[in-house]
Symmetry: C2
Protein backbone atom coordinates (compact mmCIF):
# COMPACT_ATOMS: atom_id res chain seq x y z
CA UNK A 1 0.00 0.00 0.00
CA UNK A 2 1.53 3.38 -0.97
CA UNK A 3 2.30 5.68 1.96
CA UNK A 4 0.79 9.14 1.63
CA UNK A 5 3.50 11.72 1.46
CA UNK A 6 2.03 15.11 0.64
CA UNK A 7 -0.16 17.15 2.98
CA UNK A 8 -2.87 16.90 0.35
CA UNK A 9 -2.81 13.10 0.44
CA UNK A 10 -2.73 13.05 4.25
CA UNK A 11 -5.74 15.37 4.41
CA UNK A 12 -7.70 13.25 1.93
CA UNK A 13 -6.97 10.06 3.85
CA UNK A 14 -7.98 11.72 7.13
CA UNK A 15 -11.15 13.20 5.66
CA UNK A 16 -12.35 9.90 4.20
CA UNK A 17 -11.51 7.97 7.38
CA UNK A 18 -13.31 10.49 9.62
CA UNK A 19 -16.35 10.74 7.35
CA UNK A 20 -16.67 6.94 7.35
CA UNK A 21 -16.11 6.62 11.11
CA UNK A 22 -18.06 9.61 12.45
CA UNK A 23 -20.35 10.67 9.61
CA UNK A 24 -19.97 13.33 6.93
CA UNK A 25 -22.12 16.01 8.56
CA UNK A 26 -20.53 15.49 11.97
CA UNK A 27 -16.93 15.95 10.80
CA UNK A 28 -15.43 19.46 10.64
CA UNK A 29 -12.46 20.88 8.77
CA UNK A 30 -10.69 21.24 12.12
CA UNK A 31 -11.20 17.54 12.83
CA UNK A 32 -9.65 16.69 9.47
CA UNK A 33 -6.69 19.04 9.89
CA UNK A 34 -6.05 17.69 13.41
CA UNK A 35 -6.17 14.08 12.25
CA UNK A 36 -3.76 14.86 9.40
CA UNK A 37 -1.43 16.70 11.76
CA UNK A 38 -1.55 19.98 9.83
CA UNK A 39 -2.87 23.45 10.55
CA UNK A 40 -6.33 24.58 9.48
CA UNK A 41 -4.78 27.06 7.04
CA UNK A 42 -2.91 24.18 5.40
CA UNK A 43 -6.26 22.50 4.75
CA UNK A 44 -7.52 25.62 2.98
CA UNK A 45 -4.36 25.83 0.91
CA UNK A 46 -5.44 22.56 -0.71
CA UNK A 47 -9.25 22.54 -0.54
CA UNK A 48 -12.08 25.03 -0.49
CA UNK A 49 -14.52 22.79 1.42
CA UNK A 50 -14.48 19.54 3.37
CA UNK A 51 -16.29 17.98 0.39
CA UNK A 52 -13.30 18.76 -1.85
CA UNK A 53 -10.96 16.87 0.48
CA UNK A 54 -12.55 13.53 -0.41
CA UNK A 55 -11.60 13.54 -4.06
CA UNK A 56 -8.36 13.00 -5.92
CA UNK A 57 -6.93 16.01 -7.72
CA UNK A 58 -9.39 16.14 -10.62
CA UNK A 59 -8.45 19.71 -11.56
CA UNK A 60 -4.86 18.63 -12.05
CA UNK A 61 -5.94 15.52 -13.94
CA UNK A 62 -8.31 17.49 -16.16
CA UNK A 63 -5.40 19.80 -17.00
CA UNK A 64 -3.23 16.78 -17.92
CA UNK A 65 -6.07 15.34 -20.02
CA UNK A 66 -6.60 18.65 -21.83
CA UNK A 67 -2.86 18.98 -22.50
CA UNK A 68 -2.70 15.41 -23.82
CA UNK A 69 -5.65 16.01 -26.18
CA UNK A 70 -4.41 19.42 -27.30
CA UNK A 71 -0.97 18.07 -28.12
CA UNK A 72 -2.17 14.91 -29.87
CA UNK A 73 -0.81 14.48 -33.37
CA UNK A 74 -3.40 15.42 -35.99
CA UNK A 75 -2.74 12.11 -37.75
CA UNK A 76 -3.31 10.02 -34.59
CA UNK A 77 -6.43 7.90 -34.30
CA UNK A 78 -8.86 10.03 -32.23
CA UNK A 79 -10.25 6.97 -30.42
CA UNK A 80 -6.76 5.87 -29.40
CA UNK A 81 -5.95 9.37 -28.16
CA UNK A 82 -9.19 9.47 -26.16
CA UNK A 83 -8.47 6.02 -24.74
CA UNK A 84 -5.09 7.22 -23.55
CA UNK A 85 -6.85 10.15 -21.85
CA UNK A 86 -9.16 7.70 -20.06
CA UNK A 87 -6.06 5.88 -18.76
CA UNK A 88 -4.77 9.19 -17.38
CA UNK A 89 -7.98 9.53 -15.36
CA UNK A 90 -7.72 5.92 -14.22
CA UNK A 91 -4.23 6.64 -12.86
CA UNK A 92 -5.80 8.89 -10.23
CA UNK A 93 -7.36 5.81 -8.68
CA UNK A 94 -4.95 3.06 -9.67
CA UNK A 95 -2.08 4.66 -7.79
CA UNK A 96 -3.84 4.12 -4.45
CA UNK A 97 -6.40 1.28 -4.50
CA UNK A 98 -6.99 1.39 -0.73
CA UNK A 99 -8.05 5.03 -0.80
CA UNK A 100 -10.09 4.42 -3.95
CA UNK A 101 -11.96 1.65 -2.12
CA UNK A 102 -12.69 3.83 0.91
CA UNK A 103 -13.82 6.71 -1.28
CA UNK A 104 -16.11 4.34 -3.18
CA UNK A 105 -17.67 3.21 0.08
CA UNK A 106 -18.14 6.82 1.18
CA UNK A 107 -19.70 8.08 -2.05
CA UNK A 108 -22.20 5.18 -1.82
CA UNK A 109 -23.29 6.58 1.56
CA UNK A 110 -23.31 10.36 1.09
CA UNK A 111 -25.51 11.62 -1.74
CA UNK A 112 -23.83 15.03 -2.07
CA UNK A 113 -20.46 13.33 -2.57
CA UNK A 114 -21.93 10.95 -5.13
CA UNK A 115 -23.40 13.89 -7.03
CA UNK A 116 -20.10 15.69 -6.90
CA UNK A 117 -18.40 12.66 -8.41
CA UNK A 118 -20.99 12.50 -11.19
CA UNK A 119 -20.49 16.13 -12.19
CA UNK A 120 -16.72 15.56 -12.19
CA UNK A 121 -17.15 12.58 -14.48
CA UNK A 122 -19.26 14.70 -16.81
CA UNK A 123 -16.42 17.23 -17.13
CA UNK A 124 -14.15 14.51 -18.54
CA UNK A 125 -16.91 13.37 -20.88
CA UNK A 126 -17.36 16.92 -22.17
CA UNK A 127 -13.60 17.34 -22.74
CA UNK A 128 -13.44 13.99 -24.61
CA UNK A 129 -16.45 14.94 -26.76
CA UNK A 130 -15.02 18.38 -27.57
CA UNK A 131 -11.76 16.78 -28.67
CA UNK A 132 -13.54 14.21 -30.86
CA UNK A 133 -15.64 16.96 -32.43
CA UNK A 134 -12.51 18.98 -33.18
CA UNK A 135 -10.95 15.94 -34.90
CA UNK A 136 -14.02 15.43 -37.06
CA UNK A 137 -14.90 19.08 -37.64
CA UNK A 138 -17.07 19.61 -40.69
CA UNK A 139 -18.61 16.18 -40.70
CA UNK A 140 -22.35 15.60 -40.76
CA UNK A 141 -24.93 15.61 -38.01
CA UNK A 142 -24.93 11.83 -37.74
CA UNK A 143 -21.19 11.92 -37.04
CA UNK A 144 -21.69 14.45 -34.27
CA UNK A 145 -24.20 12.14 -32.64
CA UNK A 146 -21.75 9.25 -32.99
CA UNK A 147 -18.99 11.28 -31.35
CA UNK A 148 -21.16 12.25 -28.36
CA UNK A 149 -22.10 8.59 -27.96
CA UNK A 150 -18.40 7.65 -28.23
CA UNK A 151 -17.39 10.01 -25.42
CA UNK A 152 -20.22 8.67 -23.24
CA UNK A 153 -19.23 5.07 -24.02
CA UNK A 154 -15.57 5.67 -23.11
CA UNK A 155 -16.56 7.22 -19.78
CA UNK A 156 -19.11 4.46 -19.07
CA UNK A 157 -16.47 1.81 -19.78
CA UNK A 158 -13.95 3.62 -17.55
CA UNK A 159 -16.44 3.85 -14.68
CA UNK A 160 -17.57 0.25 -15.08
CA UNK A 161 -14.01 -1.08 -14.99
CA UNK A 162 -13.05 1.15 -12.07
CA UNK A 163 -16.06 0.14 -9.95
CA UNK A 164 -15.54 -3.54 -10.64
CA UNK A 165 -11.81 -3.36 -9.90
CA UNK A 166 -12.45 -1.57 -6.60
CA UNK A 167 -15.14 -4.07 -5.58
CA UNK A 168 -12.75 -6.93 -6.34
CA UNK A 169 -9.99 -5.55 -4.14
CA UNK A 170 -8.00 -3.52 -6.66
CA UNK A 171 -5.17 -5.99 -6.99
CA UNK A 172 -4.70 -6.81 -10.67
CA UNK A 173 -3.81 -4.58 -13.63
CA UNK A 174 -6.67 -2.13 -14.06
CA UNK A 175 -5.07 -0.57 -17.13
CA UNK A 176 -5.15 -3.93 -18.91
CA UNK A 177 -8.83 -4.25 -18.00
CA UNK A 178 -9.58 -0.80 -19.40
CA UNK A 179 -7.67 -1.62 -22.58
CA UNK A 180 -9.85 -4.68 -23.13
CA UNK A 181 -13.05 -2.77 -22.40
CA UNK A 182 -12.15 0.11 -24.71
CA UNK A 183 -11.21 -2.44 -27.39
CA UNK A 184 -14.78 -3.72 -27.27
CA UNK A 185 -16.17 -0.18 -27.36
CA UNK A 186 -13.99 0.75 -30.32
CA UNK A 187 -14.86 -2.39 -32.30
CA UNK A 188 -18.53 -1.81 -31.63
CA UNK A 189 -18.57 1.84 -32.61
CA UNK A 190 -16.97 0.98 -35.95
CA UNK A 191 -20.34 -0.53 -36.83
CA UNK A 192 -22.09 2.85 -36.55
CA UNK A 193 -24.37 3.03 -39.60
CA UNK A 194 -22.83 5.30 -42.20
CA UNK A 195 -24.62 7.41 -44.76
CA UNK A 196 -25.62 5.13 -47.60
CA UNK A 197 -22.91 4.86 -50.23
CA UNK A 198 -23.57 5.36 -53.94
CA UNK A 199 -25.12 2.35 -55.65
CA UNK A 200 -22.87 0.12 -57.78
CA UNK A 201 -23.28 -3.26 -59.38
CA UNK A 202 -20.25 -4.71 -57.60
CA UNK A 203 -20.79 -7.34 -54.97
CA UNK A 204 -18.95 -7.75 -51.71
CA UNK A 205 -18.17 -11.37 -50.87
CA UNK A 206 -17.06 -12.17 -47.37
CA UNK A 207 -16.06 -15.67 -46.37
CA UNK A 208 -15.52 -16.42 -42.71
CA UNK A 209 -15.98 -19.15 -40.14
CA UNK A 210 -19.26 -18.90 -38.27
CA UNK A 211 -18.43 -17.83 -34.75
CA UNK A 212 -15.89 -15.27 -35.94
CA UNK A 213 -16.42 -12.25 -33.68
CA UNK A 214 -18.71 -9.77 -35.39
CA UNK A 215 -16.28 -6.92 -34.89
CA UNK A 216 -13.67 -8.81 -36.93
CA UNK A 217 -16.15 -9.19 -39.77
CA UNK A 218 -17.00 -5.49 -39.54
CA UNK A 219 -13.31 -4.61 -39.63
CA UNK A 220 -12.84 -6.76 -42.77
CA UNK A 221 -15.88 -5.26 -44.46
CA UNK A 222 -14.79 -1.74 -43.68
CA UNK A 223 -11.26 -2.41 -44.88
CA UNK A 224 -12.66 -3.54 -48.23
CA UNK A 225 -15.06 -0.60 -48.40
CA UNK A 226 -12.24 1.81 -47.64
CA UNK A 227 -10.11 0.47 -50.52
CA UNK A 228 -12.70 0.99 -53.21
CA UNK B 1 -47.10 27.73 -27.62
CA UNK B 2 -48.74 25.86 -24.73
CA UNK B 3 -50.14 28.08 -22.01
CA UNK B 4 -48.97 27.19 -18.50
CA UNK B 5 -51.89 26.18 -16.38
CA UNK B 6 -50.68 24.78 -13.09
CA UNK B 7 -49.09 26.83 -10.35
CA UNK B 8 -46.02 24.64 -10.76
CA UNK B 9 -45.68 25.60 -14.43
CA UNK B 10 -46.29 29.28 -13.68
CA UNK B 11 -43.60 29.24 -10.99
CA UNK B 12 -41.10 27.54 -13.30
CA UNK B 13 -41.72 30.05 -16.07
CA UNK B 14 -41.39 32.95 -13.62
CA UNK B 15 -38.21 31.54 -12.07
CA UNK B 16 -36.48 31.02 -15.42
CA UNK B 17 -37.53 34.46 -16.71
CA UNK B 18 -36.34 36.24 -13.54
CA UNK B 19 -33.05 34.30 -13.38
CA UNK B 20 -32.33 35.22 -17.01
CA UNK B 21 -33.36 38.87 -16.57
CA UNK B 22 -31.95 39.70 -13.14
CA UNK B 23 -29.44 36.93 -12.40
CA UNK B 24 -29.72 33.72 -10.47
CA UNK B 25 -28.11 34.92 -7.23
CA UNK B 26 -30.10 38.15 -7.20
CA UNK B 27 -33.54 36.52 -7.51
CA UNK B 28 -35.37 35.39 -4.36
CA UNK B 29 -38.18 32.92 -3.81
CA UNK B 30 -40.43 35.89 -2.98
CA UNK B 31 -39.63 37.48 -6.33
CA UNK B 32 -40.59 34.26 -8.09
CA UNK B 33 -43.83 33.80 -6.14
CA UNK B 34 -44.79 37.44 -6.78
CA UNK B 35 -44.13 37.17 -10.50
CA UNK B 36 -46.18 33.96 -10.69
CA UNK B 37 -48.99 35.58 -8.73
CA UNK B 38 -48.98 32.97 -5.95
CA UNK B 39 -48.15 33.00 -2.24
CA UNK B 40 -44.71 32.10 -0.91
CA UNK B 41 -46.18 29.00 0.76
CA UNK B 42 -47.49 27.85 -2.63
CA UNK B 43 -43.92 27.97 -3.94
CA UNK B 44 -42.77 25.71 -1.13
CA UNK B 45 -45.61 23.30 -1.79
CA UNK B 46 -43.98 22.58 -5.17
CA UNK B 47 -40.26 23.19 -4.62
CA UNK B 48 -37.73 22.98 -1.82
CA UNK B 49 -35.36 25.60 -3.25
CA UNK B 50 -35.30 28.22 -5.98
CA UNK B 51 -32.96 25.92 -7.88
CA UNK B 52 -35.67 23.24 -8.01
CA UNK B 53 -38.08 25.66 -9.67
CA UNK B 54 -36.03 25.77 -12.86
CA UNK B 55 -36.47 22.14 -13.77
CA UNK B 56 -39.35 20.10 -15.12
CA UNK B 57 -40.85 17.49 -12.83
CA UNK B 58 -38.03 14.95 -12.96
CA UNK B 59 -39.21 13.12 -9.85
CA UNK B 60 -42.59 12.49 -11.49
CA UNK B 61 -40.90 11.51 -14.75
CA UNK B 62 -38.48 9.18 -13.00
CA UNK B 63 -41.47 7.49 -11.34
CA UNK B 64 -43.15 7.06 -14.75
CA UNK B 65 -39.92 5.67 -16.21
CA UNK B 66 -39.51 3.21 -13.34
CA UNK B 67 -43.12 2.07 -13.67
CA UNK B 68 -42.70 1.61 -17.43
CA UNK B 69 -39.55 -0.47 -16.94
CA UNK B 70 -40.99 -2.49 -14.06
CA UNK B 71 -44.10 -3.35 -16.01
CA UNK B 72 -42.34 -4.19 -19.27
CA UNK B 73 -43.13 -7.63 -20.62
CA UNK B 74 -40.32 -10.09 -19.92
CA UNK B 75 -40.39 -11.10 -23.59
CA UNK B 76 -40.04 -7.51 -24.84
CA UNK B 77 -36.77 -6.39 -26.40
CA UNK B 78 -34.88 -4.61 -23.59
CA UNK B 79 -33.43 -2.01 -25.94
CA UNK B 80 -36.89 -1.15 -27.28
CA UNK B 81 -38.24 -0.85 -23.73
CA UNK B 82 -35.34 1.43 -22.76
CA UNK B 83 -35.87 3.52 -25.90
CA UNK B 84 -39.50 4.02 -24.96
CA UNK B 85 -38.33 5.17 -21.51
CA UNK B 86 -36.03 7.73 -23.18
CA UNK B 87 -39.06 9.05 -25.08
CA UNK B 88 -40.88 9.49 -21.77
CA UNK B 89 -38.04 11.72 -20.58
CA UNK B 90 -38.05 13.63 -23.85
CA UNK B 91 -41.75 14.39 -23.35
CA UNK B 92 -40.83 16.59 -20.39
CA UNK B 93 -39.16 18.98 -22.82
CA UNK B 94 -41.08 18.39 -26.04
CA UNK B 95 -44.33 19.54 -24.49
CA UNK B 96 -43.00 23.07 -24.06
CA UNK B 97 -40.17 23.95 -26.44
CA UNK B 98 -40.12 27.65 -25.46
CA UNK B 99 -39.48 26.86 -21.80
CA UNK B 100 -36.96 24.17 -22.78
CA UNK B 101 -35.05 26.78 -24.81
CA UNK B 102 -35.00 29.29 -21.94
CA UNK B 103 -33.92 26.62 -19.48
CA UNK B 104 -31.14 25.59 -21.85
CA UNK B 105 -29.92 29.19 -22.02
CA UNK B 106 -30.01 29.45 -18.24
CA UNK B 107 -28.17 26.21 -17.49
CA UNK B 108 -25.42 27.38 -19.90
CA UNK B 109 -24.98 30.45 -17.68
CA UNK B 110 -25.31 29.12 -14.12
CA UNK B 111 -22.89 26.34 -13.20
CA UNK B 112 -24.87 25.05 -10.20
CA UNK B 113 -27.94 24.59 -12.42
CA UNK B 114 -25.88 22.82 -15.06
CA UNK B 115 -24.48 20.47 -12.43
CA UNK B 116 -27.95 19.83 -11.11
CA UNK B 117 -29.08 18.87 -14.61
CA UNK B 118 -26.13 16.51 -14.99
CA UNK B 119 -26.90 14.66 -11.76
CA UNK B 120 -30.54 14.38 -12.84
CA UNK B 121 -29.46 12.89 -16.16
CA UNK B 122 -27.30 10.39 -14.31
CA UNK B 123 -30.34 9.19 -12.33
CA UNK B 124 -32.07 8.19 -15.57
CA UNK B 125 -28.90 6.49 -16.80
CA UNK B 126 -28.68 4.48 -13.57
CA UNK B 127 -32.35 3.42 -13.82
CA UNK B 128 -31.86 2.37 -17.47
CA UNK B 129 -28.72 0.41 -16.60
CA UNK B 130 -30.41 -1.31 -13.64
CA UNK B 131 -33.28 -2.39 -15.87
CA UNK B 132 -30.93 -3.72 -18.58
CA UNK B 133 -28.94 -5.63 -15.95
CA UNK B 134 -32.15 -7.18 -14.59
CA UNK B 135 -33.11 -8.31 -18.11
CA UNK B 136 -29.73 -9.93 -18.65
CA UNK B 137 -29.19 -11.23 -15.11
CA UNK B 138 -26.69 -14.06 -14.93
CA UNK B 139 -24.78 -13.11 -18.04
CA UNK B 140 -21.04 -12.62 -18.09
CA UNK B 141 -18.88 -9.67 -17.16
CA UNK B 142 -18.50 -8.54 -20.75
CA UNK B 143 -22.30 -8.33 -21.02
CA UNK B 144 -22.47 -6.15 -17.93
CA UNK B 145 -19.97 -3.76 -19.46
CA UNK B 146 -22.01 -3.71 -22.68
CA UNK B 147 -25.18 -2.90 -20.75
CA UNK B 148 -23.58 0.02 -18.87
CA UNK B 149 -22.30 1.34 -22.20
CA UNK B 150 -25.79 0.87 -23.68
CA UNK B 151 -27.45 2.93 -20.94
CA UNK B 152 -24.81 5.66 -21.38
CA UNK B 153 -25.28 5.62 -25.16
CA UNK B 154 -29.07 5.95 -24.90
CA UNK B 155 -28.74 8.94 -22.55
CA UNK B 156 -26.02 10.54 -24.72
CA UNK B 157 -28.23 10.17 -27.80
CA UNK B 158 -31.21 11.64 -25.92
CA UNK B 159 -29.19 14.63 -24.75
CA UNK B 160 -27.61 15.19 -28.15
CA UNK B 161 -30.98 15.17 -29.91
CA UNK B 162 -32.58 17.39 -27.27
CA UNK B 163 -29.80 20.00 -27.38
CA UNK B 164 -29.81 20.12 -31.16
CA UNK B 165 -33.60 20.39 -31.34
CA UNK B 166 -33.62 23.24 -28.82
CA UNK B 167 -30.84 25.10 -30.65
CA UNK B 168 -32.76 24.75 -33.90
CA UNK B 169 -35.95 26.26 -32.49
CA UNK B 170 -37.78 23.16 -31.33
CA UNK B 171 -40.24 23.07 -34.19
CA UNK B 172 -40.11 19.64 -35.82
CA UNK B 173 -40.82 16.17 -34.43
CA UNK B 174 -38.22 15.52 -31.76
CA UNK B 175 -39.53 12.01 -31.13
CA UNK B 176 -38.84 11.05 -34.75
CA UNK B 177 -35.32 12.43 -34.34
CA UNK B 178 -34.77 10.38 -31.21
CA UNK B 179 -36.10 7.27 -32.95
CA UNK B 180 -33.55 7.68 -35.73
CA UNK B 181 -30.70 8.29 -33.27
CA UNK B 182 -31.59 5.32 -31.10
CA UNK B 183 -31.88 3.21 -34.26
CA UNK B 184 -28.24 4.01 -34.99
CA UNK B 185 -27.25 3.26 -31.39
CA UNK B 186 -29.08 -0.06 -31.43
CA UNK B 187 -27.61 -1.16 -34.76
CA UNK B 188 -24.15 -0.24 -33.55
CA UNK B 189 -24.38 -2.01 -30.22
CA UNK B 190 -25.37 -5.21 -32.00
CA UNK B 191 -21.77 -5.35 -33.16
CA UNK B 192 -20.47 -5.65 -29.60
CA UNK B 193 -17.82 -8.40 -29.74
CA UNK B 194 -19.23 -11.60 -28.28
CA UNK B 195 -17.36 -14.33 -26.48
CA UNK B 196 -15.68 -16.48 -29.10
CA UNK B 197 -17.93 -19.27 -30.30
CA UNK B 198 -16.77 -22.89 -30.46
CA UNK B 199 -14.65 -23.65 -33.49
CA UNK B 200 -16.28 -25.47 -36.41
CA UNK B 201 -15.26 -26.20 -39.98
CA UNK B 202 -18.32 -24.51 -41.43
CA UNK B 203 -17.86 -21.30 -43.38
CA UNK B 204 -20.11 -18.27 -43.38
CA UNK B 205 -20.55 -16.77 -46.83
CA UNK B 206 -22.08 -13.34 -47.07
CA UNK B 207 -22.79 -11.72 -50.41
CA UNK B 208 -23.78 -8.08 -50.47
CA UNK B 209 -23.36 -4.94 -52.51
CA UNK B 210 -20.46 -2.78 -51.38
CA UNK B 211 -21.92 0.30 -49.76
CA UNK B 212 -24.56 -1.72 -47.93
CA UNK B 213 -24.74 -0.13 -44.47
CA UNK B 214 -22.55 -2.04 -42.05
CA UNK B 215 -25.37 -2.50 -39.56
CA UNK B 216 -27.39 -4.38 -42.21
CA UNK B 217 -24.48 -6.74 -42.76
CA UNK B 218 -24.13 -7.20 -39.01
CA UNK B 219 -27.83 -7.95 -38.73
CA UNK B 220 -27.57 -10.56 -41.50
CA UNK B 221 -24.51 -12.16 -39.96
CA UNK B 222 -26.11 -12.31 -36.57
CA UNK B 223 -29.31 -13.76 -37.97
CA UNK B 224 -27.31 -16.59 -39.53
CA UNK B 225 -25.28 -17.12 -36.36
CA UNK B 226 -28.46 -17.25 -34.31
CA UNK B 227 -29.95 -20.00 -36.47
CA UNK B 228 -27.05 -22.40 -36.10
Amino acid sequence: MPQPRSNRDRLTLAAIALFLANGYEETTVDDIADAAGVARRTFFRHFRTKEDAVFPDHDGCLARVREHLDQADASADPFAVTSRAAHLVLDLYAQDPATAAQRYQLTRQVESLREREITTTSRYQRVFADYLHRCDAGKGEDDRLRLDVTAAAVVAAHNHILRKWIREGGSDDIHARLDAALGSVEATLRAWPTESAPHTDELLVLVARPGTPTWRLVREIQAVEGRR
